[in-house]
Point group: C2
Chain length 328, copies 2
């Protein structure tokens, strides 16, 4: 029975799994960010190798292919830049770079048709057809889109708080939470040159961050309970994510539907809200989504499929179960 290596290379962390064609995972490893666009080829390669060595765990067994799932633009990188680094580890076949969207999709299903919606720092939806990406919507980054993403939520939280401070919006629990998070004292609204002092501090602190770091305020929207402002932000995010998913849907294909990313997996109500908004929009029954934590199981499924191995229900279940055991 042949062995394989599969890697889910994310922006902040990388996961690798060493497994056999029956779906049994024998080793698992993690490392830092493995995205070549943000870290460069050298930095990304280092992360891929580090996670792979941990997954291989000193075995002298070879593997028939290495399948690396990465975000969008990385798909254009020549595979030979990575291949030569994996040969010494035991790679006897090819190295394949695949979309992280497919990795996420196959973490939730073994079928070759369906949909994925990922909302982490960014937000993107895909239709999968014949085991390939047939259509992608959004995932256009923080400035152009990523509607309903962690960045989007964090920015809307800060905008709402800024508006509350100068009277364009209402002062709510969320306002207090953000001011406390940023260590800004609310003095009742004193002004300097007409500007509320607390807002001036908010401006200084917000612009000291990289824009993308605004995603760190997203959890406050979830933590604010029934705060009216937070609820409005979350409702709009759900509607936008439903719009993004709706853009790749076709009437004749209802699923399977795989949801991933922290906005959908940690915000429990968000998944239900997206489904409800989608049902209202499409006026059709939407299949119950499967939520997935990351794309490493899917990278393994994809590796087997690309190699022509059969991924039946038993193999798919074996990957999930043995991977869960390795992760402890």
């Amino acid at each position: 029975m042949r062995n394989y290596l599969a890697i889910d290379a994310g922006g902040t962390s990388t996961r690798a799994v060493f497994f056999s064609a029956d779906g049994q995972c024998h080793g698992y490893g993690v490392s830092g960010g493995g995205n070549p666009v943000s870290r460069g080829i050298e930095g990304a390669s280092g992360a891929l190798i580090q996670a792979s060595l941990a997954a291989l765990g000193g075995t002298d067994k070879s593997f028939a292919s290495a399948t690396v799932c990465m975000a969008g633009a990385s798909l254009e990188i020549p595979t030979h830049l990575f291949h030569q680094r994996f040969a010494p580890l035991g790679l006897v076949g090819s190295l394949m770079i695949e979309s992280d969207l497919l990795g996420a999709f196959y973490s939730g299903t073994r079928h070759d048709e369906g949909y994925a919606l990922i909302a982490g720092t960014g937000a993107v939806a895909a239709r999968v057809s014949s085991a390939k990406l047939a259509a992608v919507a959004d995932g256009t980054g923080w400035l152009l889109g990523d509607n309903g993403s962690g960045f989007w939520l964090g920015r809307e939280v800060l905008r709402a708080v800024s508006a509350a401070l100068d009277g364009r919006g209402s002062f709510t629990v969320l306002t207090d939470m953000v001011l406390a998070d940023l260590d800004i004292q609310w003095d009742g609204g004193s002004r300097r040159q007409g500007r509320v002092r607390a807002q001036q501090q908010l401006i200084v602190k917000a612009y000291a961050l990289d824009p993308i770091e605004l995603s760190r305020f997203a959890p406050l929207a979830f933590a604010a309970g029934n705060d009216e402002t937070a609820r409005d932000i979350l409702d709009r995010a759900a509607a936008l994510l439903a719009q993004t998913l709706g853009a790749v849907m076709e009437p004749e294909l209802s699923g399977p539907m795989v949801f991933g990313g922290s906005v959908l997996t940690k915000g429990h109500a968000m998944t239900a809200a997206v489904v409800a908004a989608l049902q209202q929009e499409t006026r059709a029954t939407v299949m119950e989504p499967v939520t997935v934590g990351d794309g490493v199981a899917g990278a393994a499924v994809l590796a087997l499929k690309r190699a022509g191995e059969v991924v039946d229900a038993e193999v798919f279940a074996a990957i999930s179960a043995s991977l869960a055991t390795l992760r402890g």
Copy 2:
């Protein structure tokens, strides 16, 4: 009769006027950006001096004060950094740094109570009381606010076009205009890795710009005629600008109301839309706004007021008329 120098120092251009207490303007000069936050003290000083020398036109007359109107954060800069550079030009009194919001306000009125709404690249509203800024709303920059500004409009244009390309939105005249502007060919929607190729090009070109440069797409919203997407963006901008202005308004003060900035002065319908939205929101009669091109006349009015000179209707009219003549 005493003479004065007044300067309106903007981010991209600086205007100076040399005038006497009766409102007669004797010289006018322009130069590049004079904002110390973006250009540094040296660069900004250079621009202020250049415009001032042109306004003074080689006269050997002294002036009783120099009044410089600048944006927000520049108000904290110690005046002595500028004062020493103006003494050799004939400054015998003090140098004062004032808010550009007051400069804009007094370009439209000689009264000391009222409102200003400025929507250029950014967007901000102020209530003026006793010739000072009593309240300021928004003007919080492109990431936190500036709702309804040129940046906001430009970003919404690009976001709408990006959404149209992948099916989240509708393909309209505005889509064609933006693709033409960015020299992107529309091939009917072919995809690579599921992503529409035209959208991939849009992403590359948009992220190659500084975020603030997205304001250059704002004019396309005005130029798109009755395009549904453009109308929606403009309607939302008007509602947001009305909200910003509404946040500084007090029931007992209906105006005067001064509107400035390219979004309000070049988009003729925008001013009317903001007034209509404001009237709907406040359910009160809103005073007809005076629109102003820039803040140099107001800087002159402010210079006279701070010096204790009387600015009656005659003086105010003289400033406007003689300044218009000098500008040709």
